[in-house]
Amino acid sequence: MASRFWTQGDSDTEEEEEEEASEYGDGSEAGAPAGEAAGAAAMSRYLKESGNASGSDESDSQRRVVKSARDKRFDEMRATVEQMKNAMKINDWVSLLESFEKINKQLEKVVRVTESEKVPNLYIKALVLLEDFLAEALANKDAKKKMSSSNAKALNSMKQKLKKNNKQFEELIISYRENPQSDDEGAEEEEEEDEDESGSEVEEDPSNIAISDMERDDEDEDGDEQGESGGAWEKQIRRKDKLMDKQFMKDPSEITWDLVDKKMKEIVAARGRKGTGRIEQVEQLTFLTRVAKTPAQKFVILLCVIAAQFDVNPSLLGHMPIYVWKNCVSNLLLLLDILAHYPNIVVDDSGEPDEHETQKGADYKGTIRVRGNLVALLERLDSEFFKSLQCTDPHTKEYGERLRDEPLFLVVAQNIQDYLERVGDFKAASKVALRRVELIYYKPQEVYDAMRKLAEQRTDGAEGDMEGAAASQAADGSKGPAPFVVIPELVPRRSTFPESSRNLMDALVSLIYKYGDERTKARAMLCDIYHHAIFDEFPVSRDLLLMSHLQDGVQLLDIHSQILFNRAMAQLGLCAFRAGLIAEALGCLSELYSSGRVKELLAQGVQQNRYHEKTPEQEKAERRRQMPYHMHINLELLEATHLICAMLIEVPNMAAHTYDKRKPVSKTFRRLLEISERQTFIGPPENVRDHVMAATRALSKGDYQKAFEVIKSLEIWKLLRNKESVLEMLESKIKEETLRTYLLAYSSCYDSLSLHQLTTMFDLSEAQAHSIVSRMMISEELHASWDQPTRCIVFHNVENTRLQGLLFQMADKLSILVESNERAFEARTGGTLDGLPTRRRGENQDSSSLGRWQENFITSSQGRQSGGYGGRTGYGGRSGGSGQAGGGFAKDRSGQGQRGAGGYSGGYASTRYQDAYGSSGRTPYQAGSSLRGSQGESTARMVSLSKGGRV
């Protein structure tokens, strides 16, 4: 808001103050200010008001009485600078170094308090001072020699630190050097002067003010009058502005379209040039929007403003300042207003429209073509929002504040979508719809309701202050020197959220399915799956996943979509678990955990890998992919779910195949179990893993009560909405599996066992126990049968002798050998023998099994690499730069290009999760999908989540 001072004097305090005040003054942001920060904010508001009351008079004395937290920080900083100056005088580098570190810490605090990205000039000044002094000291070799060793050491480290530090602020330092303030004056005085300067400027520089709140506008008007009558202010206006103002402040009637156009081109041409202040450019353009002669011109200039605003933050990692973002939102709304008011303006990004197209006035009836792309703007806006959330610490208040801006974005998105639909550009509308979907899909109904309420409250409250959007509107429409084109507020400033998020999702998603391109559709589908999963609609979301054949093609998607896919799978797993579908849940989650890179796969944090370091670029890229905190899936819950599912399936499985360790259902679980068994002393469980391991031990002994108690004591259950029913489900599952484990493990010790005894042991009803035991008998897990009159289980001990067991194993291995022989034969000749349909069929199956083979080969080779032998190659295959080579390597082996060069295997460390879904045989999902997929029929769907599909 007060950005126009940025490149000017040291007016930070004032400036920040005002920004803050205007924000809180709006009342919209003030939501629920709590704690210390809120107190400070309120105080500053008070200060601001008092400052206003006294007008342009010096209000410094008042300020000394009550100090805001911000002032305190500044005072501290100032004191440090003083210390530094003293140290310089006595050439004490040790204390100078100390002060330097101190000031850096203070800087952090100041920045936090002022809630801005902007570094106070005071600090910059100190840096410049230091730099100069350092250069001086280094130049003076003799003095250096004379220094004490500790002093010299400090000097050297200072040299390095300063160099590093100054790089961050290079620009500011340069600009400061260009435009040095009176730095030999005392800090106190200086500040006073600064305040004086800025204070007066606030009032006497009205031409620059376009975006500001109502309060400020009143002031502006005052200033205006003053300016016109007095004229004394002119000398204080800075060079650049002076130029502009001279041109435009003359007389409204003298401003022509050409003049504005020329000026605009001039400003735009300066973009990116050295020495061009980015913020300044925004201001200048904003000013131009007010003097634009035609709506179309205004539109074009607004587009430039928005582009300039996006330019404000040059770095890929950082995000644009929040108030700039908000301004950007309001500008976009303004654009839409223009479009709504003048339907003859057509936005188009193809071709170069006529230079003078925008000269046509408001009364021009024909179509006016303007170059621009609303969707791109919106997408940029969205990614800036996303980035700002990524960069903010989720445990601070700012994060919450930032999240409150979400409805604001949704409003813009909704309006743009409406506009595009009106124009008939459904393809673009579907893109916008996707952005909206992506903001909504992860919200459970409660969160959605909260957002809806927030959006409503906001509009119910102070009318016309949607984050200064409406305010600037008002400023534009009614105030200011000369807005030549008045645009009424047409576009709704509040979004209309339907009652249930499902309805909203359905509407958006169906639009996307109809008009979107492949990627949009795939993403929308994933969001839809995720959303259904949150709402406990497992069958629906499973059917969606299977019908869409998404698993076949994930590895071809971009990384972001793959992350989304992983998230959807994780959520589906959780959903299955809540529904009591243990096997399905494990099927969804086990691949996620097999690599041990859950955080990475879900983009919820960076995991350090023991075997290789990542390059900085990789790390940066990964950091950019991170999900903002509020979208995270709770990892503990996920892990608990996975491990509990694995436990419920694996423990009876282990009991059934005591001597046969060939077929673990969940290798991860087995590994963990082995680790925990190796421990000599087992302490009380601490983390999720310990809990599950403790439960496992109890379970395998047949102690269901203890197992359940341990599981129940986990903290995470309170995260579940239907905690009671889930725990109930879990208890009955645990009972059931304990019974199964018990029977499998100890059946050889019994000749018969009465049903009654079982029911008392495991606290099951007779019907339940009967049903469980019967199922085991039918599936021949348990060699036993019922004796109906006595209600007993009679065991037939058919324990094979060791020799017999070995014979069975040999038989299995022999048949595997024959099978692989046949496969090899078919692989060799299969291609040449065509014509015979049966043959073809065989070939088909063959190719899929071939894929699996090679997949296995890859995994084994990968395993070797990560096993320390070929750290380098493994590294190469993973690093971003040589990702191509790595991808190629994988591709060669797999022969079918399933991995796709580059892509995921490039930047991303592991493709295994996807791969496993994508390649044949590894997971139950795939087994069905490859078969179904070969039918080439999109309505055909695989229905089986269980092994092998229905074939």
Binding site: P539, W786, D812, T829, T939, V943
Partner: protein, 438 residues
């Protein structure tokens, strides 16, 4: 018992005329209010040309002799249209009625069309008129004429879409005339076309398949070989997919078909899987019966469900068909279903028991003790059951039927030899052939 009535779910997938038999059945069973059904019938007829019939129903519904004006008008309209269509199709019809001339037609469609247009001035227009006329006849309820005309139209038609519609029309007409054999033929023809044709969208194809399955219910539950037919059709992957996607209620018929068909027991596993997957989407006593028996092994529950099943079958238009036999009527499907279901229960029960009390068994099977003993004895004698009756204690003792370990191993290794031999042969033979060629 109206809760399990599927008419409302099935009807949208049927032709108007095909819904009639269903409504007739409902009326007979008196599941709903008579008036409601009559109203539904009038609704149904309002879009057809069977105005006279609609008038009759109207009269019986409101007990008056008056008929609403719009019906009278519609009647006049229908008669007029019939006339005009008849006129436009007349040349072709008169040609087709002359058997001597029809004999001149050959298998070659192009030739026929050319001949017709050259010698009789019958062009595409008349052929189109024939289609319209046939459709009109069908709408009027004159199914046999419609079927004839459509058959002949298909011989002359070049447009494949039209031909498909004609085939649907013919199928409907044959079903309504209860010519099951012919209808089955038409059904298979239609199925081939649907499977092979390239549809505009997969969704269309899916819809066609679902229609086909619904229409086929009429045939399969009436044709003598329908019981195999229904399993063959419905268990085809694509059709099973269609059921799971958009027509879950058909699971009832699939389940029933599997239960009453003794020879297709191998489908049971697949059926159980499907039923389990779709249990959130569709559930009725018949699927629940299977679930109880094969998923939960809850024999009490299965008994319970079986009793409900009986009602469901009796109230289902396809399953609950009465057969009048001399002086008493039976519902063959119900009897078979119950018999087979009982056998299923018994079989499963025996598989997991070593020793069963016969009196308990008799109770479970809804028989008295002696009957049950007889029944079991017959099973044992026909060596369907490996068991012995212990008459003194009144129990049935199951024989152990474990396979010997040796047998198991030999079994698993038996075919390996053969496979390896085949493999070797396959490798050697081409090599020899290549050598011989050289």
């Amino acid at each position: 018992m109206a809760t399990y009535d599927l008419t409302s779910r099935i009807a949208p997938h049927l032709d108007r005329h095909l819904v009639f038999p269903l409504l007739e059945f409902l009326q007979e069973r008196q599941l709903y209010n008579d008036d409601e059904i009559l109203k539904a019938k009038i609704d149904l007829l309002s879009q057809t040309n069977m105005v006279d019939y609609a008038m009759d129903i109207h009269k019986s519904l409101y007990h008056t002799e008056d008929v609403p004006q719009d019906m009278v008008e519609r009647r006049v309209d229908v008669v007029a249209r019939l006339k005009s269509l008849e006129d436009s199709a007349a040349p072709l019809i008169s040609f087709l009625q002359n058997s001597a001339l029809v004999d001149e037609l050959r298998a070659d469609r192009q030739y026929n069309i050319q001949m017709l247009s050259e010698r009789f001035q019958i062009g595409a227009e008349q052929i189109e008129a024939l289609y319209q006329y046939a459709k009109f006849q069908f709408e009027c309820g004159n199914y046999s004429a419609a079927a004839d005309y459509l058959y002949q139209y298909r011989g002359l038609c070049l447009n494949s879409d039209r031909s498909l519609s004609a085939l649907w029309g013919k199928l409907a007409a044959e079903i309504l005339m209860q010519n099951w054999d012919v209808a089955l033929e038409e059904l298979n023809r239609l199925k081939e076309i649907i499977d092979s044709k390239n549809f505009a969208s997969p969704l269309n194809q899916l819809q066609n398949r679902i229609w086909l399955m619904h229409w086929s219910l009429f045939i399969f539950f009436n044709h003598e070989n329908g019981r195999n037919g229904i399993i063959d059709l419905f268990f085809q992957d694509r059709y099973l997919n269609a059921i799971q996607t958009n027509a879950h209620h058909l699971l009832r018929y699939v389940a029933t078909a599997v239960i009453i068909n003794k020879r297709r027991r191998n489908m049971l596993k697949e059926l159980i899987k499907v039923i389990q997957q779709e249990q959130q989407c569709y559930k009725d006593p018949i699927t629940e019966f299977i679930e109880c028996l094969y998923v939960n092994y809850d024999f009490e529950g299965a008994q319970q469900k079986l009793r409900e099943c009986e009602q469901v079958i009796l109230n289902d238009p396809f399953l609950g068909k009465h057969v009048e036999d001399s002086n008493f009527s039976t519902v063959p499907m119900r009897d078979e279903f119950l018999e087979n279901a009982r056998l299923f229960i018994f079989e499963t029960y025996c598989r997991i028991h070593q020793c069963i009390d016969i009196s308990m068994l008799a109770e479970k099977l809804n028989m008295n003790y002696d009957e049950a003993e007889m029944w079991i004895m017959n099973l044992v004698r026909s060596s369907k059951l490996e068991a012995k009756i212990d008459s003194a204690s009144g129990t049935l003792i199951m024989g152990t039927n474990r396979i010997n370990v040796h047998e198991q191993i030999i079994e698993s290794l038996k075919n390996l030899n053969m496979r390896t031999y085949m493999l070797a042969k396959n490798i050697v033979e081409p090599a020899q052939a290549a050598q011989a060629a050289r």
